[in-house]
């Protein structure tokens, strides 16, 4: 069951490429890897805890009060995560700004709470929530990497906000900094839409290929 949950969350029902939920933060925050992965991990944390919390109290929630109570729980947890970010990762907090509180409105969180956590055990819900978040984080990482590379010619810029000023040396400048390279389309929202579209296309193509391979195997087995 656990493996199924994990593979479902990361590939078959990926939040960003299949369910296509929570697009607002995905499109804005994916302008570089560091921002994207940070918000993705924050979302994963929220989904882990909210999934577990909602699964834990699911017997006490009357059916007609599902929505307000789930939203209450999610909003409270996001507030806690926001306060923790402000205290322990201030540089990142300032960069991500309003997108941390906006995790509350991320459809993925409420959707999984409603579709999964309210009907499954605490452990399964925690797993599902966390790996849905990880699936989203992977999309943000790849999209962030693409946009950063094409838009600014760097990778991991801004990592000093997470690991301190010494980490500035970890930023990889694929295109040398003194060339002042910038491709604005990739950095602004239209680039995010285009990038995401390309990723969905690649995933669909990969899926078709895997299906065809499985089909040939099944055919080969059947005809013996």
């Amino acid at each position: 069951m656990s493996n199924q949950i994990i593979s479902n969350s990361i590939w078959k029902q990926n939040a960003g490429l299949v369910q296509i939920l929570g697009m607002c933060p995905v499109l804005v925050v994916s302008s570089n890897i560091v921002n994207g992965v940070s918000l993705g991990l924050a979302t994963s944390l929220v989904m882990l805890v909210s999934g577990a919390a909602i699964a834990a109290i699911r017997q006490f929630v009357p059916n007609e009060l599902r929505s307000p109570i789930f939203i209450l729980i999610i909003a409270a947890l996001v507030t806690v995560v926001d306060l923790l970010f402000n205290a322990y990762a201030h540089g990142l907090y300032v960069v991500l700004g309003i997108f941390i509180p906006l995790i509350t409105t991320n459809c993925i969180v409420l959707a999984r709470a409603e579709a999964f956590a309210s009907k499954n055990s605490v452990w399964d819900s925690a797993l599902d929530g966390f790996f849905m978040g990880i699936g989203l984080t992977l999309v943000l990482a790849v999209l962030g990497g693409m946009r950063e590379l094409v838009g600014k010619g760097t990778l991991l810029s801004g990592i000093d906000l997470v690991f301190g000023p010494t980490a500035q040396a970890w930023t990889i400048h694929i295109i040398p900094a003194d060339m002042h390279y910038q491709f604005l389309l990739a950095i602004l929202p239209p680039g995010a839409f285009i990038g995401l579209g390309l990723l969905i296309a690649v995933k669909t193509a990969l899926d078709k290929r895997l299906e065809a391979k499985a089909g040939r195997l099944a055919h080969a087995v059947a005809s013996h």
Partner: protein, 206 residues
């Protein structure tokens, strides 16, 4: 009717209980992190103020040495709300002052600045603290995007060079990047306003 009422009361009670528990969780976290958050904000502010002053030119705690300006002085700086000036002292004597100023006429809104002025009226440094200028166009006023703002360093305002304090496009002496003139124009005017204020307040440096 009775069971509907009973259900309603039970539902309200459940909601209330959840609200109490989770509000307590939020309040608790807030309390626990309050000190660290305030410390972080002070640190960020102090680091920013220190950027407009030459290193090692002061030995006091800049935030503790903050003076609140009067309402009309604050308006002269372009600020609404409280306006502070941070006095940088060495061995007890005021060597420089860092002003919070605002340029109200940025392209997309107000631009908040810190302007460091030495006691001889020279600009020690300017930094944009907050702005809404267009990314890739007007945002070069931010030191993170370009070193445009460094050209204010070392400049001063004299009765003779008032016309110099405009961007080159308007006949002045300050560089700007083509295609985005409104942002640098606003910043230049704001810095000029700060220098005009300083010229009228020699007692600031006593």
């Amino acid at each position: 009717m009775k069971t509907m009422f009973a259900n309603g009361v039970r539902g309200a009670g459940t909601l209330f209980l959840f609200a109490v528990v989770f509000t307590a969780l939020m309040a608790g976290t807030y309390q626990l992190t309050r000190k660290k958050v305030l410390f972080n904000e002070e640190k960020a502010k102090a680091a920013l103020i220190a950027q407009v002053l030459p290193a090692k030119s002061f030995d006091n705690n800049l935030l503790k040495g903050a003076k609140l300006l009067s309402a009309e002085d604050g308006k002269a700086m372009g600020n609404d709300g409280d306006s502070y000036v941070y006095l940088a002292k060495k061995a007890g004597k005021t060597e420089a002052a860092v002003f919070e100023a605002t340029a109200p006429d940025g392209y997309a809104g107000k631009i908040k600045l810190l302007v460091g002025v030495a006691k001889d009226g020279q600009v020690l440094g300017v930094r944009v603290v907050a702005h809404k200028e267009t990314p890739g166009l007007g945002d070069y006023i931010d030191v993170a995007k370009s070193s445009w703002i460094e050209q204010f360093k070392g400049r001063e305002l004299t009765p003779q060079n008032a016309d110099f304090w405009k961007v080159k496009k308007d006949g002045g002496g300050f560089d700007y990047m083509a295609g985005a003139t409104i942002s640098p124009r606003a910043v230049t005017a704001a810095v000029k306003r700060v220098l005009e204020y300083v010229a009228k307040q020699p007692q600031l440096f006593l």
